[in-house]
């Protein structure tokens, strides 16, 4: 059932408006907080109000303008988009609270919070994009809106990182635009509503090139190796930015784009026929293993997180590339699971940095005594990444493995297991350091982070467990993901 | 070296151009498209339709009057442009920065009494001739431009022999701004009259009871062009001379 509804448009528009208001209130802390939080809450409410309908298979749509038939800006809320938008907007609320605490003494706060709000507005627009052009449009806007956040420090290092970020993502954008144009030429439409708009008539070779263009384009943001270079550099941004954007909004936009391309532009059938996704799966597997290995060598906390992100993102890509329903389910659900886990970790890293000033892992000895709750949250997230049952990470790995076996690709199950081991190898030492290694001079007194930092961290950690243990409860992300998968595979 | 290169390039460009012109319809033949397509109507009916026995004038002022309207605007533009570039040039030059070497203005050349005498003697005749050219432009060679330019040249000659101040008295400061755009205004006047009485902008009566208006209108335009041309040519000269 398709319903014409204002809400798909309202969600991004409202946060856009709030972003502009945040710019305009300038340096008045109360109103800035009011509008930032208010926007987050209102948008979350709007998004959630559509949830029951989407679960029942209703699709909400709203189109703003059409340039020519088939090309225009339109929004359409289906299960996949809903999934992504719920993740991003609930995390936005949490991160905003965190950011208010974190950015207390930073400069240029109006700019920061303004662009922060704009980013999330564009993320929701991206999630609700009705066609490839709208998707591209918000994808590019996201790039632009993130740039000021990345270079927030305005140090030469930050500027360099910002430049790198732009070069990577805009180049990716060019590939997407090119792919979009070619798609339009071949398919005559750009709609993302169906199960694939292209067909074999364009020739296998051309389609392969097109697929490659899309993968390269979205792969930049999804940080598939070797297109990941910008992500570790972008860690110079303030932690909330790294948390929300480099764990959720930006990188997931890339992964989300790949999902859209695989399921809605090409469609499962066509890709099976073309038999090209194994290359993507191989690239993803390579990324998973290599990035994990690099992460092992990183001492800077945030850089290790960054490489972990790179590895985790490829789970999603891998799941999409396997082209089996269960793998797809694992991929989609991993969007949420990875987001909550990674954001917990970023919050922890940020809290530690703000409270103790430590940014490197070897300095963290005994920190668990000083900040037990924070490190407790970290432990939960780390277990999630390793894939211990009852945490979120287990759910996605479980389905990914099932999906891989379904398709008869044992090798990828091995990759997932190796990845789990590697995850254990780079997260557990931190836990060990924090709780069990007491060097002389360790503060044994509890000195937790400020509540505005701690509470969001704990909430996210709680979610990690919730997503893992109550995954099958209706209304949880898994049910949404299932709705999406059932549609894409025509089940 | 550079020159040789340029010459080589130009020679290279000459080849297709010359080949191109060799394939154009032969010059002078009455069978050319230039002579068989549009022009016959001008030659056959121009005198009656457009009201000027001189067909060139008929084309300039009537058939393609709008072109001429543009053309008088071009020369007016030139005047405004020259004034815009030169007005108070020295003040700005001094304000911005001194030139590396201030050019010394050449002292005015003494004018021989013979020249002065001859210019003075000839001046009225030149003026009369130019008025003749303007008035009879539509029946004989001549026209507003030609007449106007002659007056302009006369004014320049007078400026040269007896100084600009003298010449400017012929074209006083008070009315000069009104005379400079005379051609544009004359066109506008006739054009709007045509718009009001007949049809589109710049329409001339072709037949009927209004046809008597044709000659006066042509004359108005011719005089406008003449006066405007003279004023503009002289004004440009004065502006360049630096006395304006």
């Amino acid at each position: 059932m398709e319903l014409f509804d204002l809400r798909p448009m309202l969600a991004p528009a409202l946060s856009l408006a709030c972003g502009i208001i945040v710019f305009m209130v300038g340096d008045r802390p109360f109103w800035r907080r009011f509008w930032s939080l208010g926007a987050a809450a209102v948008k979350l409410a709007i998004v959630f109000s559509m949830l029951p309908g989407v679960l029942n298979g209703t699709v909400y749509r709203y189109s703003i303008v059409e340039f020519t038939p088939g090309i225009g800006i339109g929004f359409r809320v289906d299960a996949l988009g809903m999934f992504f938008s719920i993740v991003s907007s609930s995390l936005w609320l949490i991160t905003t609270v965190y950011a208010i605490g974190y950015m207390e003494h930073e400069h240029e706060r109006p700019r920061f919070f303004g662009f922060f709000a704009l980013c999330v507005s564009t993320t929701v627009g991206l999630a609700f994009a009705e066609n490839l052009l709208t998707l591209f449009l918000f994808y590019e806007m996201l790039t632009i809106c993130t740039y000021p956040l990345v270079i927030h420090e305005e140090t030469p290092e930050a500027m360099a990182a910002g430049r790198k970020y732009l070069v990577y993502t805009l180049t990716g954008g060019v590939f997407i635009l090119l792919g979009t144009a070619v798609t339009y030429q071949w398919a005559g439409t750009l709609s993302l509503a169906g199960r694939g708009i292209l067909d074999m008539s364009a020739g296998a070779q051309g389609l392969t090139m097109l697929f490659a263009a899309f993968v390269v384009g979205f792969g930049v943001k999804a940080a598939i190796m070797p297109l990941h270079g910008w992500l570790p550099s972008a860690m110079v941004a303030p932690t909330p930015v790294s948390a929300l954007l480099h764990a959720v909004a930006v990188v997931k936009a890339g992964a989300f784009g790949i999902l859209r391309v695989v399921f809605c532009v090409f469609g499962v059938e066509l890709l099976r026929e073309l038999d090209i996704t194994m290359w993507l799966a191989a690239a993803a597997s390579f990324t998973i293993v290599t990035a994990s290995l690099i992460a092992l060598t990183q001492d800077n906390f945030k850089r290790r997180l960054a490489y972990s992100t790179i590895a985790q993102l490829s789970y999603i890509v891998l799941g999409a590339a396997l082209l089996t329903p269960l793998a797809a389910l694992g991929a989609i659900v991993h969007i949420a699971n990875q987001a909550f886990q990674k954001i917990t970790m970023f919050f922890v890293a940020g809290s530690i940095q703000r409270t103790t000033g430590k940014t490197n892992i070897h300095e963290l000895a005994g920190i668990g005594y000083q900040m037990p709750f924070t490190m407790g949250a970290f432990t939960v997230a780390a277990l999630g990444f390793i894939g211990i049952p009852l945490t979120a990470g287990f759910v996605s790995k479980w389905y990914l493995s099932l999906g891989a076996m379904d398709g008869g690709h044992w090798i990828f199950v091995v990759v997932l297991i190796v990845s789990s081991i590697l995850n254990a190898a780079y997260w557990l030492p931190i836990i060990y350091l924090a709780f069990f290694k007491i060097t002389p001079g360790t503060h044994m007194r509890i000195k937790e982070a400020h509540p505005t930092l701690l509470v969001p961290t704990l909430v996210c950690a709680a979610y990690v467990i919730l997503l893992g243990s109550l995954a099958e409860v209706p209304g949880m992300p898994l049910s949404l993901a299932r709705t999406a998968v059932e549609y894409f595979f025509g089940m | 070296m550079r020159r040789a290169l340029i010459i080589a390039l130009l020679v290279l460009a000459a080849v297709p151009l010359l080949f191109g012109v060799s394939q154009l319809p032969p010059i002078g033949s009455t069978g050319n498209p230039t002579y068989t397509h549009v022009v016959p109507r001008y030659l056959e009916e121009g005198a009656e339709e457009a009201g000027a026995e001189n067909i060139v004038t008929a084309v300039i002022l009537n058939y393609r009057g709008y072109d001429t309207n543009g053309e008088v605007t071009v020369i007016f533009t030139a005047l405004v442009a020259v004034l815009g570039v030169l007005t108070f040039a020295k003040a700005t030059a001094a304000k911005s920065e001194p030139a590396e070497e201030t050019p010394v203005p050449a002292p005015p050349m003494p004018v021989s009494p013979v020249t002065r005498f001859i210019v003075r003697i000839l001046a009225p005749f030149i003026l009369l001739f130019s008025i003749y050219m303007v008035i009879y432009g539509h029946t004989s060679p001549g026209g507003g431009f030609q007449g106007g330019t002659i007056v302009g040249a006369l004014l320049i000659a007078v400026s040269l022999v007896s100084g600009s101040a003298q010449a400017k008295r012929l074209l006083p400061e008070r009315i000069r701004p009104w005379l400079q755009p005379a051609a544009v205004l004359a066109f506008a006047l006739v054009g709007v009259a045509g718009l009001w009485l007949i049809g589109p902008y710049l329409s001339f009566p072709v037949e009927g009871e209004l046809v008597f208006l044709r000659t006066p209108w042509l004359t108005i335009i011719e005089f406008g062009i003449g006066i405007g041309g003279a004023a503009i040519v002289a004004s440009i000269f004065w502006a360049m001379e630096g006395s304006d």
Partner: protein, 116 residues
Amino acid sequence: MRVLWTNIDYAASVVLFLIGLYAVIAKGNLIKKLMGLNIMETAVFAFVMATGIVTGGDAPILGKGAEPPFANPLPQALILTGIVVALSTTALALSLIMRIYERHGTIESDDLWGVE
């Protein structure tokens, strides 16, 4: 070649045009450049006028005693306009050159590059 001979007027104006272009490009002195421009203008006028030539044609002034064939009046009308345009361009160019000389003390383009 025979055809080119018939159209020798055109050919001459083409050559003149290129000579003018040579002066515009190759000459350093701004006045000479302007002269080159004027040569080009003249060449184009000659070219357009040549399209209106009619062998044995009379001036296109009707009235008593006028006998066809007449010369083509249209190019004459066009070129009258063209001349005015050329005059205007020249006037503006000259005043620019005057200002350049006043300000920089030279009108050799080689010397003027340094100014920029």
